[in-house]
Amino acid sequence: MLSGRAESGGEAVIAAQKPFEVTPKLDESGTPIGELLEISMGPHHPSTHGVFRMDVTLDGETVVKLKPVFGYLHRNHEKIGENISYLATMPYTDRLDYFCSMTNNWAYALTIEKLAGLAVPERAEYIRVIMAELTRLQNHTSLIGFFVQDMGALGTPMMYAFREREKILDLFEEVSGARMMCNYMRFGGVRVDVSDAWLAQTKKIVGDYGKFLDEFEVFLNENEILLARTQGVAPISKEQAINASITGPLLRAAGVNYDLRKVDKYGIYSRFEFKVPLGETGDLYDRYMVRVLEMRESIKILNQALAGIPAGPIMDAKAKLRGFRPKAGEVYGRIESPKGELGFYVISDGGPSPYRYRIRPPSYINLTTLEDMCLGRKVADVIVILGSVDIVLGEVDR
């Protein structure tokens, strides 16, 4: 009667996991005592990480139904992409997941390179890896800041996280001119070369990052409140995670070893040694821990990339930016962005703009099982669960 997901086609849908059985108090005739309360969480709520709304039905404090409502930031990015040139789309991709503009650029550039058959010079590949891993570091750092803030640790941990994030954003600014909207990559390479001084500065910041993480982990890993609020909360099984197309740290927290840097080995990731951290139960603590460990692995990759970066050109000589018209055909390109699998699907008809331009946004699809995770939990948990999914509304609504 009160379950959120009613009958759905009858086929083998993997059953929604319910941590606790929802048992509203009933009187003799079987009707619930008291009223169910329907509230709208968001769109303007500090914990929804943007303009995102959840229609929540509550029995007391317990969630019995939750429907996410999207679209407050919708500007039909895909339609815009189909009406402008290939190159003009590049700065638009910055605005998708505005925390990770570098990886958005890379995913788009990778797709178009696949479509047009462009090669990427060695130095540009290294720079891309460095930028992507720095992005992962700052995304996970600030996410953990938000995550503990959602649990009530107002201010301090987030300020610590933002202090570190700002150092990385300074690096981005120095090389691309913008802190967040970098617009840095191009088909067949990158826009600006990095200087030796920049590399030295990056080495220093990456070298110090481990110390910051040590400090962060001392404060948080065994924090009593963090343990109480995250352990055993909203677990997802492997099967459910795969079936719901969950990707990124959420998937690996559930114990599925699927990292596109290892599976697809795009770019030059096959050259670096790193591990893929996995969780066991997929609860909130695992999601937190997987992200912390991923940052440690990113530091390893960064150290290898900074040590091995060769001199050379940064753009493919064949690459043409203006008047770019790739041959007809279609491609799907994907990378492991900090939030999951970010994919671009482009159909070209030989014209100056794509015939079809589609984004596979990881955080949008990761929200599929939000209701399942929240059913039977308290309202306060909903906020933490949403925080652990790691959404950015620029990407969810597009």
Binding site: S8, N243, Y332, R360
Partner: protein, 215 residues
């Protein structure tokens, strides 16, 4: 992973009623795709998911594509008798390619770490017969993406548990991602009581001075 031809022949052996076609991709680096008729789409997808050799357990990307009616022109040479002499004359032959809405699924296997297999289905037309089977009962990851295609393209997915608009607001009319969609001139405009007040206020203003234009 098996080649697309092998997958096709195994599918045809398992599901004799299915009409399957391999579509070429002009881009060398891109993948070719399997075009399946709507009636057997669900069964084919289920086979791809459950087959032990393929195990495509992960539906990564679901996309809609709009193909409006298109006039294809083709030059053909026809023999004609002109002034008693037989000559070859070029003629332009026009054929109409009927439009359709297409849904593309990119399927991968997380267990076996291979893929993608690209599965396509097409609706009969773009106007009234836009039904396709929903694959959400097989892969729940398709749920929001199919809702999005319904919202922006107008494909109706039979068997979807919760088919509503998702990005546009309820009550929105039209399908904005279609190629022939024309946005209304002014979204922002709505008549307000304010307009009447302004109109009434005009009476109180002095008439605008007439400016004589000298020739």
């Amino acid at each position: 992973m098996e080649t697309l031809e092998q997958i096709k022949s195994r599918l045809e052996a398992a599901l004799p009623s299915a009409k399957i076609e391999i579509l070429a991709n002009e881009c060398a680096a891109g993948e070719r795709s399997l075009l399946v008729d709507a009636a057997s789409g669900f069964a084919v997808a289920k086979f791809l998911r459950d087959d032990a050799q393929l195990m495509l357990d992960y539906c990564s990307n679901v996309t809609g594509v709009d193909w409006p009616d298109k006039e294809l022109t083709e030059k053909i040479k026809v023999k004609q008798v002109v002034d008693g002499v037989e000559k070859e004359v070029e003629e332009v032959k026009k054929t109409l390619r009927p439009g359709c809405l297409e849904v593309v699924f990119h399927l991968y296997s997380m267990t076996l770490k291979h893929g993608p297999v690209v599965l396509r289905m097409r609706t009969e037309n773009r106007a009234d017969k836009t039904h396709l089977p929903s694959l959400t009962p097989l892969w729940r990851g398709a749920e929001f993406q199919e809702r999005e295609i319904y919202d922006l393209y107008g494909v109706i997915f039979d068997g979807h548990p919760d088919l509503r608009r998702i990005l546009m607001w309820d009550g929105f009319e039209g399908y904005p991602m279609r190629k022939d969609y024309v946005a209304p001139d002014d979204y922002e405009y709505e008549p307000t009581p304010h307009d009447e007040v302004l109109e009434a206020a005009k009476k109180c203003y002095p008439a605008e001075p007439k400016v004589e234009v000298k020739p």
